[in-house]
Point group: C2
């Protein structure tokens, strides 16, 4: 999808995100109150749900109905290992962890190293293999158990993956792939094939367990095109359409847009040092005024402020405190400097813990990886 | 390439084959007398060479020059396991065996089960896996040793193959693939990717041995488009262009065209019973006249006769005896019935032996297969 300032594909997100337009263009369903309540029964007062960070879906109602019938789903999502993990990447994994806990289900995580090699000119196989390892550490550090949670590297699990991807590929014409992803004559033939690999984890549990198992994919909204293809093809192979629950992007620390690994100073990576964090947060774009005087007089604009969004998405669990921060900002009772300082403190605390767990993950990573 | 009656692509060969046109359109080089002599020094008085069954090449002179410098090549070819092996399929393997013996080189055989699954609507993964096994038996039965000869199933060796194929795929645009293979909007995305897999054995030895090793591919002329692509891409990855020596098709027993697995009564399969062979040969189209009287008076036309071609390609080693058969036919001194009866006898003898060796191959097949 390309729209003046907004570009949103599985490989590029740029410009000011117009979620209403995406929902309409992609044909997504908003999660309605009834569905939120139903989810809430199992998940409790979940931050990502009550703040509408996960806000649209496909067939989530089907997943819950099957569950009631005793047909348990499994979870699947993943990430393209084109660089180090940043805070924005953690959201789908954190939410999947909460879903897994609430529903006691199996969870597959796909690291699409093949995709990133194919789509990024400057990445070698060695690069994507390295980032697969690094990204897996971040996921494990969030606190999964290797009994119910498995990580797939497309390259390391290719014997299993390629064979199943062929079944999808055989049912997917070039013209469909082009229409969905906007391929051109210059697109390489691997990129054209790739979505077949991304669809495999959405039915591989059905193969392993030799029965139809529903699959729920918690993912960021830019990945929807892949699963639109999967929803088209999988029923032709005898599986359920994968369902999804989709989230908004944590904004970058620059002006507008997604946090982007390609602009390293607008993203906070899980391996960043306290100094990095301090610098990036303190240099962030905000919704504040140019001077202290103006700020105190006119107030700030939290609705356009990425710093506020970090509290909203990840760093203020307490709704009342969040509201106070919002209102105080608008009234000019809080200055950007303070607000950033507090955020930097919280991020540093979170990442110090995370980095310890990340180190420990090195000892167990092999237990998580599916390998042929 | 599509030309009135002639269709020749890696997936379809139909109509009367115009080799001159193919050579010109594909840009192939005829093997000249100097090259034949040079090959003959190592291969002796080889039937496939002296009868010009292998007749065109790419960079064969390069292969021989590198050999003189002490840079030994390896052999690679293969087959798409879409059905049982027929006599026409054996030619490239038999010639590779002779090349291997003459030059004492390693030989890789690729069974493109993935290709056949992708390109043939009616074939399942189970079908191509079965034919991979069956075809491998036929190859092993020709008398290879598993020390120097390895068989690749793309599916079974996918972990190794897919990773390397991605490197090729990244350098190959859709427009190039479409121009070479004639893909349309309806082509499935797996078929578009596939040639990347076929190029891998042409450089995999260079990876394993960590130095540039020349690769010679003895193959039937219809496979040239794949290796044209490989010759374009491999130098970009730091490897030699693969060289080739290419052969004509053993004709089918029907009127004109290649022996085709899709028309089972025009092809003699390695698993055919003596009764099958008898029936197929005795029902073959020939270059003979309608009646015995006419034949005796006007003589036959060996140049359009598939029965004669079977002697020429595989079942008459002695050039003088072949010439006598040719001349006797033209003079009407031999009738089609006799000629067919004798051919059926020779094929039955050959296949009775082959089938015994094929049974024995079942015990060693695992030693030949490369598997991840």
């Amino acid at each position: 999808m390309k729209e003046e300032n907004m570009i949103i594909t599985p490989w590029e997100v740029k410009g000011t995100i117009d979620y209403d337009k995406i929902i309409k263009d992609f044909g997504l369903s908003l999660i309605d109150e009834k569905l939120y309540k139903k989810l809430g029964k199992c998940m409790g007062n979940n931050l990502f749900l009550r703040r509408r960070i996960f806000f649209v879906h496909r067939d989530l109602d089907f997943i819950l109905k099957e569950l009631e019938k005793g047909n348990k789903f499994y979870l699947y999502n993943g990430r393209g290992p084109s660089g180090h993990t940043h805070l924005g990447h953690l959201i789908t994994f954190l939410f999947a962890k909460q879903l897994q806990k609430a529903f006691d289900v199996k969870y597959l995580i796909q690291l699409t190293d093949d995709e990133k090699f194919l789509f990024k000119d400057d990445l070698s196989l060695e690069d994507v293999e390295k980032f697969t390892y690094e990204n897996a550490l971040d996921i494990i550090a969030l606190g999964f158990d290797f009994e119910r949670t498995k990580i797939i590297s497309d390259l390391k699990y290719a014997k299993t993956m390629y064979k199943q991807a062929l079944r999808v590929a055989k049912k997917l014409t070039f013209s469909t792939a082009r229409a969905v992803f906007g391929f051109t004559n210059d697109t390489n033939v691997g990129s054209i094939f790739f979505t077949s690999m991304q669809s495999v984890p959405a039915f591989i549990e059905s193969i392993k367990q030799k029965k139809k198992i529903p699959c729920l994919i918690p993912h960021a909204i830019d990945q929807d095109p892949h699963f639109r293809v999967a929803r088209d093809v999988l029923p032709k192979l005898g599986y359920y359409k994968p369902a999804s629950i989709q989230c908004k992007f944590l904004p970058g620390l620059g002006k507008g847009g997604k946090m982007s690994a390609s602009e390293p100073d607008t993203a906070i990576f899980t391996i960043d040092t306290p100094k990095d964090i301090e610098r990036k947060v303190m240099n962030a774009f905000t919704g504040g005024k140019d001077t202290e005087e103006e700020q105190k007089k006119l107030g700030g604009e939290p609705e356009i402020c990425p710093v506020y969004q970090y509290y909203y998405f990840l760093f203020e669990e307490d709704d009342e405190k969040l509201k106070k921060r919002h209102d105080d900002c608008k009234k000019g009772k809080i200055l950007c400097g303070e607000c950033k300082k507090e955020l930097a403190k919280r991020i540093k605390k979170f990442l110090a813990e995370h980095q310890k767990k990340r180190e420990k993950a090195k000892k167990v990573i092999e237990k998580f990886m599916l390998e042929d």
